[in-house]
Amino acid sequence: MENEITKIVEDSWQKKRLSLMEEIDRAARAVENILTLENYHREGHKVETVGQSLGEFGSHALDPNALATLLSQGDEKRRMSAERLERIQKIYRELDQIRQGYRQTPPQGKIVSIEEETQKILRRSEEHLNSMARLFGLIRMAHMEVKAKYHTEEHDAYFSRFNWRQMDDTEVSLCPPFIVWGETQKTSESFYSKFLALLSEGVPLKILFFFSELSKRASAEGRLIPLHGSVNLELLPLTFRKIYLLQTASVNSNLKEQLAKGLSVPRPGVFFILKKDETLLSRSEEALASRAFPYIAYNPEASTDFVSCLDLSANPDVHRLWPKTALNYLTGEGKAETLERDFTYADFASREKGLKDQFTPLPSNISEEKAVVLSEYLTRTPAERTGKVPFIYAVDEKKHLIQLVPSPSIIAQTADRMHLWQSLREVAGIDNPHLRALEHKLKTQLTEDKEKTVNQLKAEMEARLKAGEKQAVYEAMKNLAVRLMGLEGAKIDIKSFVSHALSAKVPTMARSQASGLKEAAAEVQKKPSGDQVWIESKLCTTCDECITINKKIFGYNKDKKAVVLDPKGGPFRDIVKAAEKCSAKIIHPGRPLDPKEKDLDKWVKRAEKFQ
């Protein structure tokens, strides 16, 4: 069995392993690059290295000593601190060690039996994950070093505490899976409590549970069912909404894909698998159809609402309680016939070898009125069931159609499967009483509305037809009058309508521009009060002209737009020169502040253009 599981795990984890190796490689390469560069800064310009690079001929032609001295200028500054170098080397060493190790022995999933002690299983799974956390910690550190953002005082503490609970979903999904496996035959009755204990810790371990038998033996009293047996594992997602659950048969053609997906989800997962064996191989489809082992996939990552996470779509006839299947039989005359019937759990059980004794032929003294097909019997209330005998159709060895009465235990189990299936459909949002009621209500309402609308429209149409006739007559009369007598027609709306439609586009453009210009005028910087120099800074093109002329008068703001720093920072002459040179023509010189300035008249005149 364990070999089989190893194979399943191996198959499903292969791709992820490649991604993990790539992730390690990427981080290792990144730090390796830093180290190579650092090595170049430390060794690359040594005389011997330079000599080697020049080759024999070059070394004679050029002076390696002089070249090395020249090239190594500034190397000191480029080198990293010894502490950082040591840290990066350590990260690289450890990553490389893990990488080499994985190349020799590829990382494998861990497999333990559910028979082991719960605490031991949990401890081992955490150890397994924490060893991976160490690796992902290193990878994170590597990426930080590449960006030169690792600060010892901040990050040392963080990484010393880094454990699996801090890993993100991608990292967890890249960890080799930790598998706990069990099967129905070997498992003790207390396994349900074990499930609870294992899942409630939140450790992303995966429980693989194999079923080989589906039907339960009837208890001595013929009544169902001791508590532990009636626990519905199918409804686990209701208890643990954050786990991944898959129930399927191992003959399912998509099993490999589904397992690969399920085993890599970054959360606990439970997999119930109907084991492949000789007796069940041909019957797994029937087990699926009879709701004895319905297909269930619950993926909490699929959506934020519960209903969309639960997928029952792979079951036949999802919208029915039991699927319809054909039963082939021979009539007394040997003619082949087919009977369509609901395929219930009892129909499935009647074909299981070990349960033959649970079915007896329908006694011949029972009247047709009293005998009711099981699927119908189960939908009746207890009162309606009184006096009725449920039966199922089957064929005997000669392929003749017979009617079998199931034992009370089988009837109870069938009822139980039906109820479970109905519950599953309800929580999956496929069918429930509220939906049905709503559907009914809507249907009635819509039919009523429809009738109402149809009647209304009919009435309107009739009215319009009548009015139309009148209008047409009126128009004709009017046109005739206009033609005949040259009279001005009554005010016809067409003209204004047409002009309105034609002009629809024009005003929008004109408006945007006109309003734009208005706002533009409002946005243009206002001249400040006073007669001093001022700049329309918003329109500055940062061409450096003004600040080159006088850095005291002109400067840049935080957006590197020119502003006046100090109008008294220099002569009026500089202000006017700047205004003349300004490529955006946005400097307005104002009036001179120093009346004694030389050639002032000349400068005031030149400034006029820019005021």
Binding site: H143, Q513, G516, L517, E523, T542, E545, D559
Partner: protein, 323 residues
């Protein structure tokens, strides 16, 4: 304790910081005073500051010319390439380091003349980059030679009797290239518009080409109506286009333009007077070359490829003969 994903963790520890303009300033620019390059540099620096972009997450690639000194003055990663080859280098960077923001800066001579071949093919490859051409209609660094956009009749050192030919209209040319995904035009004397244009271009995934008109104060101070502000221009306005700040409206009028319509765009591009300013053409659905190539890499059968390669090379193995 809240669990941070690796990305969130790295984001928190290595991510956004508030930066000042000085954090993106390297050497003091050696451009002449009055040159439009200053304004473009500041606009780029403001964009980086406002978006809190780490300097180490940006690479600026350039060719040769005054404008191509850009990477020296922008404190990010930089690559001052060779004449006309800024786009080829950029394409390599875009493919090798898709995680970096790539800014390619060229001049009119660099891009439209010697780099003309690469220019066409870069547009068709549509790699992810913000490409700006600082077009002053003259070779400035080498002191006044005619470039493809120098206007007819302009006297330069290579055309002492005036430029013989009509100038090249780079806009119409680009709108004829397959896979063009973003084309905009602006000018340094429209500072608010320049900022908005660069922001729009920065957001586009694919090659966003921005032609920026600017005056060379040293060698062609008469271009663009001498002062720029008097140069006849018209702003293009359209839904999802480049916003025209109200303050800019006094400089030019506005027309409505559908930048998703190639024929409309070609029509607009043909009109040189007034010069269109804004988003001329935009198609965000053109796949980038990087994406196309990476998609193929993902589907590549690596083990199969290596096995095949090994088998091929094994044919040439020299085996030692025994006995």
């Amino acid at each position: 304790m809240t669990v941070l994903s690796m990305e969130e963790f790295l984001e928190k520890e290595c991510g956004d910081h508030n930066y000042e303009l000085e954090d993106y300033e390297a050497e003091v620019p050696r451009w002449c005073k009055g040159c439009g390059d200053h304004g473009v540099l500041t606009s780029v620096q403001k964009l980086l500051r406002d978006r809190k972009i780490n300097p180490e997450d940006v690479i600026c690639v350039s060719g040769i010319g005054c404008s191509s000194r850009f990477p020296h003055y922008l404190k990010t990663y930089g690559f001052h390439g060779i004449h006309g080859r800024a786009l080829t280098l950029s394409e390599g960077v875009a493919l090798a380091r898709p995680d970096l923001h790539l800014l390619t800066v060229m001049g009119d001579g660099d891009c439209f003349s010697i780099g003309g071949n690469h220019w066409i093919h870069a547009l068709r490859y549509n790699f992810n980059a913000t490409v700006i051409v600082l077009d002053n209609e003259i070779y400035g660094l080498t002191k006044k030679q005619a470039s493809p956009t120098t206007r007819q009749g302009v006297v330069t050192n290579t055309t002492p009797k005036g430029a013989y030919l009509k100038s090249l209209n780079p806009l119409t040319l680009m709108l004829g290239v397959t896979n063009i995904s973003f084309l905009a035009q602006t000018a340094t004397w429209l500072p608010g518009h320049l900022d908005n244009t660069l922001n729009k271009a920065w957001d586009h995934k694919g090659l966003s080409f921005v032609r920026i008109l600017q005056r060379c104060p040293a060698y062609l101070s008469s271009s663009f109506e001498a002062t720029g502000p008097d140069f006849p221009a018209v702003f293009l306005e359209g839904e999802g286009g480049i916003a025209v700040d109200k303050g800019m409206l006094q400089k030019a009028s506005v027309i409505q333009h559908d930048h998703h319509n190639l024929l409309e765009a070609q029509k607009v591009a043909l009109t040189e007077t007034p010069s269109p300013m804004g988003l001329i053409y935009y198609d965000p659905n053109v796949p980038t070359y990087g994406d196309i190539r990476r998609r193929r890499i993902k589907t590549l059968d690596r083990p199969g490829l290596i096995a095949g390669l090994n088998a091929e090379l094994d044919k040439y193995t020299v085996k030692q003969q025994h006995g």
